[in-house]
Amino acid sequence: MSDLTPAEWTAILLSLRIATAATIASLPFGILVAYALARWHFPGKMLLNGAVHLPLVMPPVVTGFLLLSLLGRRGLLGDYLADIGIVLSFRWTGAAVACAVMGFPLMVRAMRLSFESIDRHLEKAARTLGANPVWVFFLVTLPLAIPGIAVGAILCFGKALGEFGATITFVSNIPGETQTIASAIYTYTQIPGGDASAMRLTAVSIAISLVALLASEIVQQWAEKRFASSG
């Protein structure tokens, strides 16, 4: 790996930064939405579910374009955000937003399944032991959902690392600012003699993905062992 060029290193570190930021920032929202979808009945639940999953089925370019129209400098919210000092277009933060949106469905799916698999009787038991609903959530529900939450976060992180279409449409492909591993590989394949760089970044990308998958596997095994029987 020592023969990675500084430009390649930049892309790798930027990718990791963007993916980490996207995952951490969407985590609370992911938990909230997953819990709401798993537990609450409210009007518009189907709509929320659809909206969350839309990026999964839409062409990423469309998602990127929508983000650009909405949050771009001339977008509907972009103006307002710029006034309070938040500029997303053509910045790494914008890339993080694009990645978060693309990774969100995967994150919510895993978390929702996790919340749904918790035995509601445990929560009822906690209520009769004197815990109000907020305590029940933080002492019982959330800890029991942690395996699913971790898996959701890892999936989101993995998706964010590989995101290309939405990111390049929304924030372009600026080395050092918005050029992730994926867009760097794309760039290298477009220029003569870039194949070696593309190959090296591909290897790095595979390595990171494998580590993420391994982490998710370890979390699941740990959870299975720990919560083997909840009777």
Binding site: L122, A125, R127, L129, G130, N132, V140, F227, A228, S230
Partner: protein, 371 residues
């Protein structure tokens, strides 16, 4: 004291119950689907009634008309469910302390060590629930509910998932809890022996309504017995006095004004009031005192009433000195012996047929009317 008068419609099932409990253990008895567990959920606040009121001592827990509904976590009512529902991500110790932490400091009257000692779960404290046996889990669940220092403890068929041996291990613990920690208990069960042993007051539910209520002796003698399907469920509950043991043969003598019953094993010290459960199908009726028979336990009395149906005759005997004993015999035998209400009979009971493990020292309480 819990006092409720509520209705609830759940799907096609209609529950409409009114009763109050006494001191000690009150049993909600009935077949599955009679509404026992639903009633418990209403008391615990896990469900809302459609109509009526629930009171616990001076606190109103629910009053539909006045739009009062106290949330379950504010009721201070402990529940032990059929499954233990221990928190799998916590150790046994953390499970036990869970509810305690939410109890107001000044109301933490039940000591942690006393509960752990009584339930014999000290060695389990650092372990996780997944590593416990069914019986151990249920003990921890009982401890966890008790350590909230509840105003009332609800048991929802806590032994349904346990085998006989585990059950017989934990039953005496519940009696100990009742006596040591003085928490009133409402106990849901469809096991007649369990109820006969533990309860001082029984509320019988049937199809969502209270069919009858009273002391075990009054109530259990009224359940079933008339048909082939129900004859094995018919029991009598007698309160007798322990009258010493026979060491040579390892027996305990129980005395009643109408006679004597021998119990296997040296179970109870002389002088104790003991409650015995006798199945109607284990009673033999004789007109003359028995001779040359292996049966050593006999009680005498007068036939009070008879229900004849099909091949069976269910005979109610008013024992000399009080108490009632049910005997299930064939109609054929009944007619051949020329029995009729008012006739004197001697009821013979095989010692081996009486399960001494379900005998219990009578809990002192206001509801003991028999003998």
């Amino acid at each position: 004291m819990i006092e409720l008068d509520v209705s609830l419609k759940a799907g096609t099932f209609k529950l409409d119950v009114a009763f109050q409990n006494g001191d000690g253990i009150t049993a909600l008895f009935g077949h599955s689907g009679s509404g026992k567990s639903l009633t418990l959920s209403l008391i615990a606040g896990l469900m809302r009634p459609d109509r009526g009121t629930i009171r616990l001592d001076e606190h109103v827990l629910a009053d539909v008309e006045h739009r009062i509904f106290v949330a379950p976590h504010r009721r201070r009512i402990g529940v032990v469910f059929q499954d233990s529902y221990l928190f799998p991500h916590m150790t046994v110790g953390q499970n036990l302390r869970f509810g305690r932490w939410f109890a107001p400091r000044e109301e933490r009257t039940i000591s942690f060590d006393a509960v752990v000692d009584t339930l014999g779960i000290g060695a389990l404290l650092p372990r996780h629930p997944a590593k416990l046996s069914g019986g151990e889990r249920q003990r921890v669940a009982i401890g966890r509910a008790l350590l909230c220092c509840p105003r009332l403890l609800l048991f929802d068929e806590p032994f349904a998932a346990l085998d006989m041996e585990r059950k017989l291990e934990i039953l005496p613990l519940i009696e100990q809890l009742r006596d040591e920690f003085a928490v009133p208990i409402v106990y849901v069960s469809h096991a007649i022996e369990e109820v006969a042993r533990l309860a001082n007051w029984i509320v019988v539910l049937e199809a969502g309504r209270v069919k009858t209520s009273g002391s075990p002796a009054e109530v259990l003698g009224l359940i079933g017995g008339e048909t082939a399907d129900t004859r094995f469920g018919r029991v009598s509950v007698l309160t007798m006095k322990a009258g010493g043991v026979n060491r040579e043969y390892d027996l305990t003598r129980l005395i009643h004004p109408s006679g004597t019953i021998w119990l296997a094993g040296q179970k109870w010290p002389a002088g104790k009031q003991v409650r015995v459960v006798i199945k109607a199908t284990d009673v033999v009726l004789s007109v003359l005192p028995p001779r040359e028979l292996s049966v050593r336990s006999s009680l005498s009395g007068q036939i009070g009433s008879v229900v004849s149906e099909g091949q069976l005759a269910l005979v109610e005997i008013d024992l000399d000195g009080g108490g009632r004993l049910s005997a299930s015999i064939t109609r054929h035998a009944f007619d051949e012996l020329r029995l009729a209400p008012g006739a004197r009979v001697i009821a013979l009971i095989k010692t081996c047929a009486i399960d001494e493990r379900y005998t219990a020292v009578t809990p002192s309480g206001p509801y003991i009317h028999d003998c």
